[in-house]
Amino acid sequence: MEGADAWVLISTALVLLMTPGLALFYGGMTRSKSVLNMLLMNFYCLGIVPLLWVGFTSSLAGNGTGAWIGNFDLAGLSGLDGQGLLFTAFFMTFAAITPALISGAVADRMKFAAWAVFVPVWSILVYTPVTYWVYGLDADTGDLIGFLGERGSLDFAGGTAIHINAGVAALALVLVLGKRKGWPKQPMPPHNLPLVLLGTGLLWFGWFGFNSGAAPGIGGLDLTATALMNTFLAASAGMVAWLVVERLRDGHFTILGACSGVVAGLVAITPAAAFVGGLAGIAFGVVAAICCYFAIQLKGRLGYDDSLDVVGVHMVGGIVGGLLIGFFADTNILGVGDPEAFDEGLFFGGGADLLVEQAFSIVFVLIFSFVVTFAIAKVLDAIIGIRIDEADELNGLDGSEHAESAYDFGAAGRA
């Protein structure tokens, strides 16, 4: 077994842990009466999506002969060798966390039964084709054949395919779902910020696997180290930048701000981790943190209730990262060294071509994901209803949807 295999194995475990990490990150931000609902919306994705993935979506999303969608040749794990099986497991964790990202936007008001249906449907109708467009490989040659990947836009670990895709889907879903009762008048502060910090720590930890797990097979240790360092620096710089911005604007350094900055930086570097080098990760973190901070302020003005800022952080952070590739992509970085490997960015003599291509793929995915998600939500709403009763919303979803209470600290037990 190669060292590279060991790194993919552990990366699979690392990215798996990101979904519980995300659950805690989001769960800590909800109100205490609906935290279990948030945890289950996330955790459920680790249940249902893998079953689809080994069933057929992995095959459809990864391997084919055309530009638009893969085939069923690898369905049911058929015909895979050890590497193939390992990478199927590795990317299974990505498929699972992507719909989980959406959940933060619909906190505190979505019927769980509707979510239970939404996730597999969305995974099949949106995640699978978008992933193929970006990463689909020719079943024979192994070359990129999905139409976005083939045109030359770059997305290393899932900026467009995952963060933008989930972020804009979140927007579509909340537009159908509506606002939480009382929002934005009523304060709805996080109920457990230590959980948010814990979730952020687990996300950062896992993100090393997310962004560099696939690198050894492409560029060996050099590229893996590059991807890891980029990831690290973007997170650190994102944290510091957010802290500075909020201190200047709101007068305080906050733990929620630090965590948000880390996630914004990580989102932005995701598509770029193996295409930029040197200290570029810092630029990604700083720009993403600033843009996401201001993007979040928009929801109040535009009037959509993106409860935990999935749009503001994942969609916007993903767009920032995708576009910055158009400036910073550099074939001279450690681990690449082949000037033909990909187009270079504006700052490295590549002209605007890559930037245009990045913008094209981003816009394409924004539109596709928004439209299809909106349609799914509308259909679900018509058939089973996606919004819970007002009384249940006021009392909290944990009791009404799940017949559980998150916490019971009282000496009197249930009294």
Binding site: E404, S405, R414
Partner: protein, 112 residues
């Protein structure tokens, strides 16, 4: 002086607070309580075992006011806390023998 105690639904606290401010109340004390009454509790299920939780979260508000304000305060609370559904809660009034502001030692009406 009168101590007015109200048990209300938790999500009505903000409305009641504003209503009380509206009738000139300048202070109150609030706590989280569990209520038992006509309003049904709910059922929880843990690994197939079902439990009935008979208590319902409520908020208790205590306001000390000068006697003449009693009716205005009661009306303010009733108006703001009413949803018309079972479980809206109760208000009761107690005579108190005196109120003291700890900071200054002022008494009764001056201490409110």
């Amino acid at each position: 002086m009168k101590l007015i105690t109200a048990i209300i639904k938790p999500f009505k606290l903000d409305d009641v607070k504003e209503a009380l401010k509206g009738v000139g109340v300048q202070g109150m004390t609030v706590s989280e309580v569990q209520g038992f009454g006509r309003q049904a509790g709910h059922t929880e299920v843990y690994r197939g075992a079902e439990y009935t939780v008979e208590f319902v979260p409520k908020v208790k508000i205590e306001v000390v006011v000068d006697a003449p304000q009693e009716m205005a305060v009661i009306d303010a609370i009733t108006g703001a806390a009413q949803t018309g559904k079972i479980g809206d809660g109760k208000i009761w009034v107690t005579d108190i023998g005196g109120l003291i502001r700890i900071r200054t030692g002022e008494r009764d009406a001056d201490a409110v």
